[in-house]
């Protein structure tokens, strides 16, 4: 160890003494000069305090001691700080905690070595100091090694600033997300309110459409391709007589009571869909309560947005009354023609009839006065009766066509037929005509104008008689039997040559006759007018096996009334 004086430091005895005084209690050594020191060293044969290396120069001593003390103080402070930090940061990873503690130990030991450096200035505890340094070295190496091993991991730990930046970036992202979410929420709100508005509009327009469909006076309905009901308005449901729940998705044959009618309706529906064209047609449907109704139906194929055929839409308007009006007008024009004819007939025929009655009556009177027992008297009475009856017929017909004084009373069908036959078939038996009358016992009472219906029967029977004039084995059969809808059907069959189709079709129109130029041909026309006015129908068809059949129907009186 070489000690060289620090340049500038005084080496005079003042310093030495002062220091020696200061160190007095510790040592018995005294610096005299370099030679003396060398001598002392060899003299004591043990370690020298390190202060000797500093020549006990107070200024140098103070510098070393002060510096080491401050370093130790700082190192211990660091150790305590780290220890305190580790103790308080419970979340540290174990490896980091170990590193920190190792570092604290390393710094603490470094501090200790500096303390020892102070100590060895006076006490030559170099052995202890060496061991302390060895321990410190070991801990330092361990710390360095550990630090070295841990460095890549530590490198990955972001710095606070980086973290701060990252946090800021995160916060910005979050803020942006929040803004986006708020915008989205607003958009959703707007969309929702728009949706609600459009939904309400749709509801309103649906309700309006529904109201129009419901309040329409006619029938409105829609069916799918298989004829199942998709829609039916109130009027339609009222006609069907069933609530919507019972007819929804059903076909006509499932809710209409009459299979024949439903078949007709469904066939027409198919025509509309197969023909793919709008069809306008009149449909006749018998309603159990409202009777026969006539509908003017417009049926349109139903297509969806891309043009596929989905079924049909039908609108039906009741034209029953219109048809009746038309029929009445037709009937009325016929009636007024009949009325004029009847008025003329009444006037023109009543005059000669009056004359006949008067002449015969006068003649009878004269004859009775001369020959009271004359067999002519009774036929003359008959002649008077018949002329009066002719006048009565004309009068009734006139009254009837002018809708005046038509007298209707309950009459027994059997009696009417019997009476008509007794007159119309006079002399027929002599000509070999076989006749039969068959009245079904269920056919009892009709409410009619007796004279008018007798006239109809008379006309038909006389027609039949004329038809069989040249027929071998002529027969006339009269049958009265129940017809549908509470009516009676009276049929007059003959075995004559029958009627040509052409004649049969026009037979009931005025002035058409199968008798050629013979006869006026008003008989059947008048008969038709009378029957229809009674709510009946008259028609003709070929008799099976040859000949003709004339039929007419009359409504039966509601309650049985004693026959007269």
């Amino acid at each position: 160890m070489s000690f060289s004086p620090i340049p500038g430091y005084p080496t005079d005895g003042v310093w030495r003494r002062g220091f020696a005084l200061a160190m007095g209690p510790l040592g018995q050594f005294e610096w005299r000069d370099e030679n003396a020191v060398m001598g002392m060293m060899s003299q004591i044969q043990s370690f020298m305090p390190h202060g000797m290396c500093l020549l006990w120069r107070p200024d140098l001593m103070l510098l070393h001691v002060g510096s080491d003390a401050l370093i130790a103080l700082a190192y211990f402070a660091i150790t305590f700080c780290i220890a305190g930090f580790v103790r308080r940061r419970a979340d540290l990873e174990d490896r980091h905690r170990a590193l920190a503690l190792l570092f604290a130990a390393f710094i603490g030991l470094c501090g200790l070595t500096h303390l020892f450096s102070i100590l060895v200035l006076w006490v030559p505890a170099y052995v202890w100091e060496g061991w302390l340094k060895a321990v410190t070295a070991a801990v330092s190496i361990a710390t360095a090694a550990f630090l070295f091993l841990l460095t890549p991991q530590l490198l990955r730990i972001p710095s606070a600033r980086a973290l701060q930046k990252e946090i800021q970036a995160h916060q910005q992202t979050v803020a942006a997300l929040d803004a986006a979410r708020a915008a989205l929420a607003q958009r959703v709100d707007v969309t929702e309110s728009e949706l609600r508005i459009s939904l309400r509009r749709q509801e309103q327009s649906t309700a309006l459409l529904r109201a129009i469909v419901e309040s329409a006076p006619g029938l409105i309905y829609a069916k799918d391709r298989e004829g199942r009901l998709l829609l039916a308005n109130k009027a339609t449901l009222e006609l069907i007589g069933k609530p919507w729940a019972e007819v929804e998705g059903r076909r006509d044959n499932e809710f209409l009571s009459d299979p024949r009618q439903s078949e007709v309706v469904m066939r027409r529906d198919r025509l509309v869909m197969e023909g793919d064209s709008i069809q306008e047609l009149e449909e006749v449907v018998d309603h159990p309560e409202k009777g026969r109704r006539v509908w003017l139906s417009t049926k349109t194929p139903l297509r969806d947005a891309d043009g596929t055929l989905n079924g049909l839409v039908g609108v039906s308007v009741a034209i029953t009354e219109r048809k009746q009006l038309e029929a009445n007008l037709l009937h009325g024009s016929r009636l007024s023609a009949m009325g004029e004819m009847a008025a003329a007939l009444a006037h023109e025929l009543n005059q000669p009839l009056s004359a006949i009655a008067n002449y015969v009556s006068g003649s009878r009177q004269l004859l009775a006065a001369e020959t009271p027992s004359s067999p002519l008297l009774e036929p003359m009475d008959r002649a008077i009766e018949q002329s009066l009856r002719a006048g009565q017929i004309i009068r009734r017909l006139r009254a009837f066509v002018s809708n005046e004084d038509a007298v209707r009373s309950p009459e027994c069908v059997g009696d009417l037929i019997e009476e008509a036959c007794s007159l119309a078939l006079i002399g027929a038996g002599a000509r070999g005509v076989k006749s039969s009358v068959r009245v079904d016992p269920r056919v009892m009472i009709v409410r009619v104008d007796r004279v008018q219906i007798a006239q109809v029967l008379h006309n038909l029977i006389r027609n039949a008689l004329e038809a069989i004039e040249d027929t071998p084995g002529p027969t006339i059969d009269i049958v009265a039997q129940p017809d549908q809808d509470g009516r009676v059907r009276v049929s007059i069959f003959d075995n004559g040559p029958g009627l040509s189709r052409d004649v049969a079709d026009r037979l009931f129109q005025p002035f058409v006759s199968s008798k050629g130029a013979q006869g006026m041909g008003v008989g059947l026309s008048i008969s038709r007018t009378i029957v229809e006015a009674h709510g009946g129908r008259i028609w003709t068809d070929p008799r099976p096996g040859g000949g003709a059949a004339f039929h007419f129907t009359l409504p039966l009186a509601p309650a049985p009334v004693p026959t007269r």
């Binding site: 008025a343 009543n350 009056s354 004359a355 008067n358 002449y359 009556s361 006068g362 003649s363 004084d405």
Partner: protein, 124 residues
């Protein structure tokens, strides 16, 4: 049977008039005939010993108009009108004009006799 009344028959139809006269004469009445209403108005009759039997519908003056004129003149002659097409309104009109009865054609000869007898009874 009182056949004291003279019957005056007014009808434009010859056959009706002639047959009526024939019949009524057989019944024992004396009968005068006229082809139109004006012809009847030209003569004077004793209302109490006469009866007018007249058609309603005639060319010129009709039966109801004749009735009105007679009643306007204060004549009380019994009047029976005949019609070939009786409707309520014309019957009502005839009754208001002052006829004693309306007969519908073709007229039952017995009805005329009973009508005249009815008038006789009413005036007796």
């Amino acid at each position: 049977m009182n056949r004291a009344r003279r019957l005056h028959v007014v009808d434009d139809d010859d056959a009706v008039r002639d047959s009526l006269v024939f019949n009524l004469k057989v019944q024992g009445y004396s009968v005068s005939t006229y082809a139109d209403a004006a012809a009847f108005l030209d003569i004077n009759v004793d209302a109490r010993r006469a009866c007018l039997i007249c058609d309603i519908r005639m060319p010129g003056m009709n039966g109801i108009e004749l009735t009105r004129i007679l009643r306007d003149r204060g004549s009380a002659i019994p009047i029976l009108l005949m019609t070939g097409h009786a409707d309520r309104s014309s019957i009502a009109e005839a009754m208001r004009a002052g006829v004693n009865g309306v007969l519908e054609k073709p007229i039952d000869p017995r009805a005329i006799v009973s009508a005249i007898e009815g008038i006789d009874r009413a005036e007796a």
